[in-house]
């Protein structure tokens, strides 16, 4: 869905725009309405976190800040935050200081367009970009313990804050591609994300209850994995489940999808580190 504030943003332009720009704006608004009409989805009630589909034992484990095994990754991330890395000799803390202050609310706004090279970055992508540009340390492998820990630590600082992914002119193309992926049938099962996570959320798939598929708790500790894991690992598991070709973790397709998922999850609290079956 396209937020109403996109059109409002367009109208807030300076009034001294010349006629040509005005026409362009008007036709652009028309285009927006058209897109809105094509994309008309059935109105969704308030999004429900995957936590509400979990059993009492899993909910209790997540709520217990000592018992939650995901907190081990958060603790490791806190250590890594302060260790100088790379040729620059800088740690994360050298620039970002205390994460509880500087990272508060950041994960709730991701994925974001990078102001420099205009690519869409999730938290993992941003950490790796920081490592390459500022620490001169080289990117960490996706799903490596270090990247998971740093991601969990950064995202943990936004816990309890609502997801507020903003869709604007800069990231709209990514958003559209993400939505296209979400509604595209694929794999030998010929299923799209929507078939399980929208049309059948709350119903059973074998012994499991299908959730709405929100990413607000990631990285999560998944009992099946016996480990923490990223959203992209989970998404790849879904691709595997419908027997489709899996995009690489961190690939553009998955980051675009992550943006679309974040827009669906708007308003849900960040839970990092969540616990899931």
């Amino acid at each position: 869905m396209i937020p109403a504030n996109a059109a409002a943003n367009a109208l807030r332009w300076p009034s001294a725009v010349d006629c040509g720009v005005r026409k362009l704006l008007v036709s652009f608004c028309g285009l927006l309405l058209a897109v809105n009409a094509v994309a008309a989805e059935p109105p969704r009630p308030q999004p429900k976190s995957g936590l509400s589909y979990a059993g009492a034992d899993v909910r209790a484990l997540q709520a217990d800040d000592f018992g939650n095994p995901g907190m081990l990754w958060v603790a490791r991330g806190e250590k890594l935050w302060n260790i100088p890395t790379g040729r620059s000799g800088k740690s994360c803390a050298s620039c970002h200081r205390e994460a509880p202050a500087s990272m508060k609310g950041v994960a709730a706004r991701y994925p974001r367009i990078d102001a420099g090279d205009k690519t869409l970055l999730n938290i993992e992508g941003r950490i790796n970009q920081c490592r390459e540009r500022h620490q001169e340390a080289g990117a960490l492998a996706y799903e490596s313990e270090e990247l998971l820990a740093l991601t969990a630590y950064a995202a943990h600082q936004s816990r309890h804050l609502p997801v507020q992914a903003e869709i604007n002119e800069a990231n709209r193309a990514h958003f559209e591609r993400g939505r296209e992926t979400y509604y595209r049938r694929q794999g030998q099962m010929n299923l799209a994300c929507t078939h399980c996570h929208e049309r059948n959320a709350g119903r059973k798939l074998l012994a499991d209850t299908i959730s709405e598929g929100h990413g607000n708790a990631y990285p999560v500790y998944r009992l099946e994995w016996q480990s923490a894991g990223s959203l992209h690992r989970r998404l790849r598991a879904c691709y595997f489940g419908v027997r489709a070709e899996q995009p690489a973790a961190g690939s553009a397709e998955l980051v675009d999808l992550e943006l679309y998922l974040a827009s669906r999850a708007r308003g849900l609290p960040v839970e990092t580190p969540g616990v899931r079956r």
Binding site: F66, G67, L72, K79, Y221, Q226
Partner: protein, 108 residues
């Protein structure tokens, strides 16, 4: 980075109190039964022994095997009788050791 653990010991207690002590260790607890992607068995590697000493006296010992989950978390109770230190030591099958400590102040 060495094995990471979190421990939870109350900072203070009254003499005679029964206090809960918790420890969680990040460890894969590889069972030895799983094959890797090439069908080769992954070597068993679990934290086989964990001890906790309270002012030098062993108050808790766990001997673990393949049945314990990854990232194990243990909890036990101790009677607080004097101020001092809890020292945890553990070792896994690969010989890697870990240690962690926490202080307790006892009043009364």
């Amino acid at each position: 980075m060495s094995m990471l653990a979190r421990i939870q010991v109350p900072a203070q207690a009254r003499r005679g109190d029964i206090i809960p002590i918790r420890i969680a260790i990040q460890h894969p607890m590889e069972t030895g039964y799983r094959p890797d992607n090439f069908g080769r068995r992954i070597t068993k590697n679990v934290i086989n022994t964990l001890t906790c000493r309270y002012n030098g006296v062993e108050v808790f010992r766990a001997e673990m095997g393949s049945g314990v989950s990854a990232n194990p978390q243990l909890q036990f109770y101790v009677r607080a009788d004097s101020s001092g230190e809890f020292v945890f030591d553990w070792v896994d099958d690969s010989g890697e050791r870990g240690s962690e400590r926490a202080a307790l102040a006892v009043s009364g």
